[in-house]
Amino acid sequence: MKAFPLPGFFARWMLASAILCFAAQATCAARTIRVDRGGAVPSVAAALRLAAPGDDIVIAAGRYEEGGLDVLCRVTIRGEGNPMVTARGRGGVFIVRANGVSIRDLAVGETGRSDIEDRAAIKLVGVRDCIIERVTVRDAFFGLYLSKSARCTIRDCVITRRATNESSSGNGIHSWSGDSLLIENNRIEGHRDGIYLEFTKHTFVIGNTSIGNVRYGLHFMFSDDNTYERNVFTRNGSGVAVMYTHRVHMRGNVFSRNWGGAAYGLLLKEITDSEIEDNLFEGNTTGLYAEGGARILVRDNVFRGNGWAVRLMANCTDNTFTRNAFLRNTFDVSTNSTSSSSAFRENHWEAYRGYDLDRDGIGDVPYRPVRVFSYIVAKNPPAIVLLNSFIVGLLDVTERVLPTITPIALSDARPLMQPPRGRRP
């Protein structure tokens, strides 16, 4: 087993390795280095020492107990027969410091936890054009950790851990200060945040499944111009929270089964100029929560079976909700304000009891989706236990006939009689 270098020797050893790399690059063509526990190169560390840019390191099946593996030149590391590289709870496994590195088809993990350093199964530090593909990360503090990296791809990885609370785990995929990343078709389970992006721009997050994470399935801040498509965020402790970001595009995602007082299918805080389209919000305590948002277009989404489908705080301005379907939610829309600067038009409300005499598909009387009971619950949360009681029914009917508390302005003047085409669940 490779000993872990003491910090004092660390820099020197790194320098030596780097020189070796450049030397090798100068002298030979690309080679394939086979790592096999019984072979000439018995450890990944040894292979990395031998490797020159452009080399392939192929790791044979087996369990390799080593960590702190610095990848300092452009190599491809791939497994055959699903080898496992484990740090046995004593630190990170791979630290990639060179551009263009690929890591494929292997399992890494067991970093152990640390309160001081960000231990990660694979860490990319200040690199470009790296690819992490079909990697299984088991029980790592952080799964894949990208720091100041750009144009990297993380694809088809499975990252799992069994975190029990927020401090006992890092994030599944973590990027700080990144640009133009592609995070695609990964599955992340049981971390603190499934995917965490901070100051990470122009990034595509597509087709991932983030499930059962302790805090958020997806969490980003200050990450402008990103696109999130066809991801599934389900049963995460607090759902999905995105904050302080401009120009977000969210399309075709599923936000489901996020239960709890502070759990949100999607929490938007200070999000502006963004589009939320074609998503499904199902079975969340709160489907979509918006605070301080402006110019957000919420279109063609389905809100089904949520406690609160949409909660809009008073400081939201100029948002538009159109062609959404609201089905079997306990509360369709609630707000803490008696006025509203957000527009609702041409949505389908299952609770709508109006009529359509001219048969143009649009109800002839406006629909006001805010129930008075949602105000009562907002002021006295425990009052939720009175849900479905006779007295609450009476209150709601009274308020519908004689509105006194709910905002008259918050109404859909053109409610759709049927869910928008193609969205009937």
Binding site: E350, K379, A383, N388
Partner: protein
């Protein structure tokens, strides 16, 4: 001997058209709600709202009227060599059982026909079971009131007041208390109070089936623990049985001691 009491009273009740009106009402209601809403879940939610109000009302009024109508009959029976307790128990089981049975049948048919998924079947079963239990609870309350109050008009009035209290007033008071005491943590009481009203108990157990996402909000953990597990649900149903048992015992005591 008690078998004879059962048979005769059951035959008498089953020949009354009201029990069939009762069954028919819920069958028609279920079917209408399904046609209007178009989904099993929608039908069940709407049905829950109606069942929680109407079922206690029917049970308490029918029970009170029955007991007063049967007064001279009870006198005839009590003059025979039978135990008072046997008269009471057979009478309660016949009335409560007939009402509950007709509800199960009437509501059960549209619920069963239109159940689409396993979840639908589970929540339909809950709806039927909770309704049947509520019937037994309010039949017992009706018996206690009608046996305890000799004047027929007053007894029916008291029965209606009790229905009003359990269906509306109690929740109104609770809502007011939440408001008045909003500075204090009310969560512990929020749950306790549901146990003090059988209608609320049934309502919460059913709401866990239909609006689980909302209930998982503030008092989420507590509710999940209590009603989300089989054990909690069993506790809720046990509490409902207790709610039937206590007025039953009170009514029985009043019946065995009353003067005809």
């Amino acid at each position: 001997m008690i078998g004879m009491l059962f048979r005769s009273q059951l035959r008498n009740v089953l020949r009354s058209r009201w029990v069939y009106v009762h069954a028919g009402f819920f069958a028609v209601l279920g079917e209408t709600l399904y046609q209007a809403g178009g989904s099993a879940a929608g039908m069940q939610v709407a049905m829950m709202n109606i069942v929680l109000i109407v079922l206690p009302l029917i049970a308490i009024v029918y029970g009170a009227i029955y007991v007063h109508g049967a007064r001279e009959f009870y006198e005839v029976l009590a003059a025979q060599p039978v135990r008072r307790r046997d008269i009471f128990v057979s009478s309660y089981i016949v009335v409560g059982g007939a009402l509950a049975g007709c509800y199960i049948l009437g509501a059960g048919i549209p619920l069963a026909v239109h159940a689409e998924t396993c979840a639908d079947v589970a929540s339909a079963a809950m709806l039927v079971a909770a309704g049947a239990l509520l019937t037994l609870v309010f039949t017992a309350v009706a018996f206690a009131v009608a046996i305890g109050i000799h004047d027929r008009a007053r007894a029916i009035g008291a029965a209606l007041m009790l229905w009003f209290y359990f269906s509306l007033l109690y929740d109104g008071i609770v809502l007011y208390l939440f408001y008045a005491l909003s500075d204090y943590p009310a969560e512990p009481f929020a749950l306790a109070f549901t146990f003090l009203n059988p209608v609320d108990l049934a309502r919460i157990a059913l709401t866990m089936q239909f609006d689980v996402s909302a209930l998982m909000g503030y008092t989420g953990a507590v509710f999940e623990q209590l009603f989300g597990t089989g054990l909690g649900l069993a506790a809720a149903f046990a509490a409902l049985l207790l709610w039937a048992g206590v007025p039953f015992l009170i009514a029985q005591r009043l019946f065995t001691r009353r003067d005809f």
